[in-house]
Amino acid sequence: MNILVFIETSEGKIKKTSLEAMAYAHGMKGETTAIVLGKADAGEIQTLGKYGATKVLHATDAKLDEPIIQVYSSVLAHAMQDEKADVLLLANSSLGTPVAAKVAIKLGASFASNVTELPDTSSGFTVKRSIYTGKAFAFVELTGVKKIITLKKNAAEIKETGGNAPVVNYAVPLNEADFNTKILKTEKATGDILLPEAEIVVSGGRGMKGPEHWGILEDLAKALHAATGCSKPVSDMGWRPHHEHVGQTGVKVAPQLYIAVGISGAIQHLAGVNSSKCIVVINKDADAPFFKAADYGIVGDAFEVVPKLTEAVLASK
């Protein structure tokens, strides 16, 4: 089986979720080619061999420096054919998921997103995917000759397998008509840990009483090397930016550790966090429904508990 893995980079670094896609490919025991589009650090993409790639394709055309979905999907469809790939793997993202869907249409391939586990190939090819915003799973059989899969975070554990892979310059003709969308400006929080990819998330709710109190959460997040999130009311009231809203209609996170402070735990919020490995709830209301969904709970005043927790984290290092 030939597998093509689309690698996304952020600020020059390969995204962790893309390395998970490499691990997933390794788990499928196929011949894996990784593909990188646009500007990328040569040394960084060289490391893909360590994660199981036997070859790395790098399309260096400067027109690929900006991630235009239509353009990227044409290039990947091309690459899938050039490499005779049976499967294309991508990490779920605002770029990867729509690109995958377009490639699926171009090639008539079967498609599944939000996949959480390696496929079952005992009879046919069946993947497990997350549905109902994490409240359930579906087992989906993909019957097309070619298959395109986007992975939910943590679908596979990153592994270094210790190989070496040549980086090959991939020249591909670009279609002018694909440049039908222009990115005028990109605003991105830099230096911070991106919420959808964070291993630890510290989130605050209405119980924080106002945006001016976010400092204690940021201190805790900094001590834990975590991203900060918030509940829907908090982003609705403008206390925090929308891209920090965790929940059913916001960002869905799947960190190792989710710490919720002053969030009551409405079912819509839980839908955004139910894939977390471990949930800690800090709330002064012992009856907050969030405790039922938590692994660890502390009933107490956030303004006392959070600074103490930060101290304890720092002391334990």
């Binding site: 605002s94 729509p98 377009k102 799973f137 579906a138 990115i183 005028l184 400006k185 190792q256 107490g300």
Partner: protein, 243 residues
């Protein structure tokens, strides 16, 4: 300008999910169906554009007869007419094919960034690809000037300002517009607005949901005293092994 708003008919966000028939079907008993929350944003923006730019708004749903109350609600919110493609929405490709089939002649095709039942989040991209027009998602702001469309799109940890041109497909999310609640006049007029039922285009399925499963139940929460916060750190390290 002609706007097509595609809506999904999905269980209310507070629904408890359970399955029947040996885990092959959703247990619909006690489940309230609603317009997909993201689709609701798309509809609200379409109604705004109708009011500000004189657009006409058609709402489209791929679903069986039981989705009609949801479609009527969209008409009550302000859509002018509706189309129901008479078929169960089996997967993204099937739904996108049906939408593309109906979408010819529309300038702007709006829908939610994803349906909240199967969460694939790709129907807009597939529709754009089938029709050969741009598709952008998730869109938080959308303004039209002539045929030029300026949008703010959310990306991981930030946003992009994107420019494209009509016709196009946009997958919407908050805060593109405020959800609209139907008023009495809307509800009354919705009863008589045209709802066209069309038969689906048949395609060969290349994916199939075989079975469903619920996540393993969570073990009971372990409570830690607020006076002993350090214990939490210890437990996270040694017991949960997440630090």
């Amino acid at each position: 300008m002609k706007i097509l708003v595609c809506i999904s008919n999905v269980p209310d966000t507070t629904s408890k999910i359970a399955f029947t028939d040996n885990n092959t079907k959703l247990d619909t008993s006690g489940v309230q169906y609603i317009i997909g929350p993201y689709d609701d944003y798309a509809l609200a923006r379409a109604v705004e554009l109708k009011e500000s730019a004189g657009a006409s708004v058609t709402v489209l749903n791929v679903g069986l007869a039981e989705t009609e109350p949801t479609i009527r609600k969209a008409l009550a919110i302000g859509a002018d007419e509706a189309i129901r493609v008479n078929a169960f929405p089996t997967d993204s490709l099937f739904v996108a094919t049906q939408i593309a089939e109906q979408a010819k002649g529309y300038d702007l095709i709006l829908m939610g960034r994803e349906s909240i039942d199967f969460n694939s989040g790709v129907v807009h991209a597939m529709v754009g690809e089938i029709l050969g027009i741009p598709s952008i998602s998730p869109v938080m702001k959308l303004d039209i000037e002539g045929t030029k469309v300026t949008m703010t799109k959310e990306i991981e940890g930030g946003k992009e300002l994107v420019e494209s041109s009509l016709p196009l497909v946009a997958g919407c999310q908050e805060p593109i517009a405020e959800w609209k609640i139907p008023n009495m006049r809307g509800i009354m007029s919705a009863r008589t607005k045209p709802l066209k039922i069309v038969e689906p285009k048949n395609i060969d399925a290349i994916s199939a949901n075989k079975k469903f499963e619920l996540p393993a139940p969570k073990s009971a929460v372990k409570m830690i005293s607020a006076d002993n916060v350090a214990e939490l750190v210890t437990r996270l390290k040694t017991e949960a092994k997440v630090l």
